[in-house]
């Protein structure tokens, strides 16, 4: 017994020493690594309004449809997560599958943007980007792929202007905020949104980051970096890790007035799914979403939990609607090997089948 115990302690010590050695060796690798491998798919700026930019991707594959697709990401993170690393780029995969893609870049709001409202974002910037594409292609309707908060925005737009949207794809987007499954949903209900907006004007991105890491403090602040030691000598692993790390903490601030309404009307009062939400004086009725809908949900998503995403399918008026779930998290749904092999091809095929 004594010998066995001593042996296991020595084994453990040896493993700790190995980790220390990896840590020392890894310093050199870390200091010389290339990790900014994102946003590399070529694209051109085609329209700009204030800080919002609309890009069109330049594809090497001939589009299989004449109906273009607009990709809309959340205001809270940068959309390049969808074009992160060549072999995991969701955008590249969609292009290869034959879609003609545009993407909205919301930019980083500064002090002068504090009065921008949800109406400005949805009916203004988003609406104008959609109109630009419609006009450019001489089409009445275009396709939408939307992620997270972008999904909520695009669904609201689709309910107000169904005549402009051919097909709607929502990915990891929240619609029913009454759930307590996710910490963000629980904590948001006890939050004084007015105080936060009044104090800052532009709600700092670092505030949002601190909320995100607080969801799993030990895992996200400590354990993640311990696990990293094992892969320190693997350049690819490190590059992936650092790319994701950069994206995680690259959170734009939030224009105060838009954030106020978004948090109070949706996260606290859950008005959208209850049919009580209004935008610019207009009532938003989800039953007006009548175009084909594909709702993609990550079963392991702890930010936008499935319980917040799934109810959309029952709330819309679409006859052609589909809910698909994958065992992935909030980032993995667009930036993982599974998203490459399964999710992007599924989204592309679903759109192409309905864009003839």
């Amino acid at each position: 017994m004594k010998l066995l115990t001593q042996t296991s302690i020595f084994e453990a010590m040896s493993k700790v020493l190995q980790k220390q050695q990896k840590l020392i060796d890894g310093i050199d690798v870390l200091m010389n690594i290339e990790y900014e491998d994102h946003d590399k798919t070529p694209k051109e700026l085609v329209y700009q309004e204030d800080k919002m930019k609309l890009y069109r991707y330049i594809s090497t594959t001939k589009p299989k449809t004449k109906i273009p697709t607009l990709v809309v990401y959340a205001l809270m993170n940068r959309s390049y997560i969808m074009d992160i690393q060549r072999d995991k780029s969701f955008i590249k995969k969609l292009l290869d599958e034959g879609l003609d893609l545009y993407i909205v870049d919301w930019g980083y709001p500064t002090a002068e943007d504090r009065y921008i409202t949800m109406e400005d974002y949805i009916e203004g910037y988003l609406g104008n980007a959609i109109d630009y594409i419609r006009k450019t292609h001489n089409l009445d309707k275009i396709n939408i792929i939307s992620k997270c908060q972008g999904g909520t925005f695009c669904t609201i737009y689709s309910a107000l202007y169904p005549e402009k949207i051919k097909n709607l794809v929502t990915i990891a987007a929240p619609f029913d905020f009454s759930t307590d499954d996710g910490l963000l949903f629980k904590w948001a209900k006890d939050m004084n949104v007015d105080g936060l907006v009044d104090a800052y004007g532009i709600v700092p991105g670092t505030f949002l980051n601190s909320c995100f890491v607080s969801l799993k403090p030990y895992s996200l602040l400590v354990d993640k970096y311990i696990g990293l030691i094992d892969g320190l000598d693997d350049k690819n692993f490190l590059s992936d890790f650092l790319g994701m790390e950069k994206w995680l903490f690259d959170s734009p601030g939030q224009a105060g007035e838009a954030y106020r309404k978004y948090m109070k009307d949706l996260w606290q009062d859950n008005k959208l799914i209850k049919g009580e939400f209004t935008l610019g004086g207009k009532k938003v009725d989800l039953k007006n979403v009548t175009m084909p809908l594909l709702n993609v949900v990550g079963d392991k998503d702890n930010l936008i939990v499935p319980a917040a995403s799934k109810p959309l399918n029952d709330a819309v008026g679409s006859k052609d609607k589909e809910l698909v779930t994958y065992p992935v998290g909030h980032a993995g749904i667009v930036a993982s090997s599974r998203s490459q092999k399964e999710i992007a091809p599924k989204v592309a095929k679903w759109l192409l089948d309905r864009s003839k």
């Binding site: 009065y115 105080g195 505030f207 311990i226």
Partner: protein
């Protein structure tokens, strides 16, 4: 210290002293003095301290952006935490170690000291500089105000003993007692200092004094909430380790204990994550997060007002003035966009009409 029960004199003396101190601290500094002793004065001026706190919200959770150097630093910090868990496992694996209650207590105490150190070294440093200062200094603020309880109004004297006991028992060694202390502190504060700070002021500096006291009141409330938040995290860490050790003892008897350090670490990580989930998903904690955030933003709003008051005579635009300008620009831009849209529609209509005219001809 002998207890002085002359309440009236104490009360008058305390108010006088406090008033004088705060008057001195916040009086605008003359240019002469500034020139003469600018460096020292700036160091002394509490507004410098407030300035750092203002940055708090902007830098919440530090300026960490995940670049390689920062990642390396985090890895080093994390390995310390990892090592502290290893140390306790090593203790459990010592050949002479038997999981008796006494031995477990000793092992826990050793880990507790490391955990406190870990929290101080690695949790608090994750916070931005201003917040770190708030945390470090809030302890001394607490201590200062605890001392003041010996001299101040009746509500403090009523339970001063419990307060002192809870404070010294508590702090980081016994977070439950510390939470108890905070609760008492908050009640007493509401009944004494807070009332004093919110008393209507008189005289030519009335508005300025009210803003100063209001910001101080908000600052203290923010500290109390922040301390309560952190004490909960400390408490969680200690309770989890106690539970882990008890469970380990039970498993040891069955011969089912984790056999390697990796297993033990995995087991401990799972326990601490579950414990965080239990705490974070509780209604009380959610409310505490809300109150802490509310206290922070209320404080910031008050300090911003105070800053603007001080900057009134400076030749610079204030934030509220800039906000007003931003609002005007926003509304003008919106109007221009709307007019441009109308103009485009008119142009399109004109073109259609002109085409029609042409085809008629």
């Amino acid at each position: 210290m002998a207890t002085n029960l002359n309440m009236f004199n104490q009360s008058i003396e305390a108010q006088k002293n406090m008033f004088e101190v705060w008057q001195k601290m916040f009086n605008p500094i003359s240019e002469e003095i500034l020139e003469k002793n600018s460096k020292d004065l700036m160091n002394y001026n509490p507004l410098n301290y407030f300035k750092e706190i203002i940055e708090l919200g902007n830098k919440l959770n530090s300026n960490y952006m995940g670049d390689p150097y920062q990642v390396l630093k985090k890895m080093n910090e994390s390995t310390d935490a990892y090592y502290s868990v290893f140390k306790i496992w090593q203790k459990l694996k010592e050949d002479t170690f038997e999981p008796t209650a006494e031995a477990m207590k000793v092992a826990f105490e050793e880990w507790r000291e490391q955990y406190s150190e870990y929290m101080n070294k690695h949790y608090i440093p994750l916070l931005p500089e201003p917040m770190k200062k708030v945390l470090e200094q809030s302890m001394s603020v607490m201590e200062s105000y605890r001392s003041a309880t010996n001299k101040f109004w009746e509500p403090w004297i009523g339970n001063e003993k419990e307060l002192s006991d809870a404070f010294f028992r508590g702090l980081l060694n016994d977070p439950s007692a510390y939470l108890e202390y905070l609760k008492l502190w908050k009640e007493n504060y509401d009944n004494s200092f807070s009332k004093f700070l919110n008393t209507p002021m008189m005289g030519i500096n009335r508005e300025l004094l009210e803003k100063q006291f209001d910001s101080l009141d908000k600052y203290i409330r923010f500290n109390v909430h922040l301390n309560e938040y952190l004490a909960n995290i400390y408490k969680l860490g200690q309770e989890t380790m106690k539970k882990t050790l008890n469970d380990y003892a039970a498993m040891y008897k069955e011969g089912m204990q984790p056999k390697s350090f990796e297993e033990f670490y995995k087991y401990w990580t799972k326990e601490i994550n579950n414990a965080f989930d239990r705490l974070f998903f509780s209604d009380d904690f959610s409310k505490l997060v809300g109150h802490t955030l509310d206290a922070m933003t209320s404080f910031k709003i008050e300090v911003d007002k105070l800053w603007e008051e001080y900057l009134t005579f400076m030749p610079i635009a204030k934030k509220s003035e800039m906000d007003s300008l931003y609002k005007t620009v926003y509304e003008m831009k919106k109007e221009i966009k709307s007019l441009r849209k109308e103009l485009d529609e008119f142009k399109a209509l004109k073109e259609v009409n002109s085409e029609k005219e042409k085809s008629k001809k």
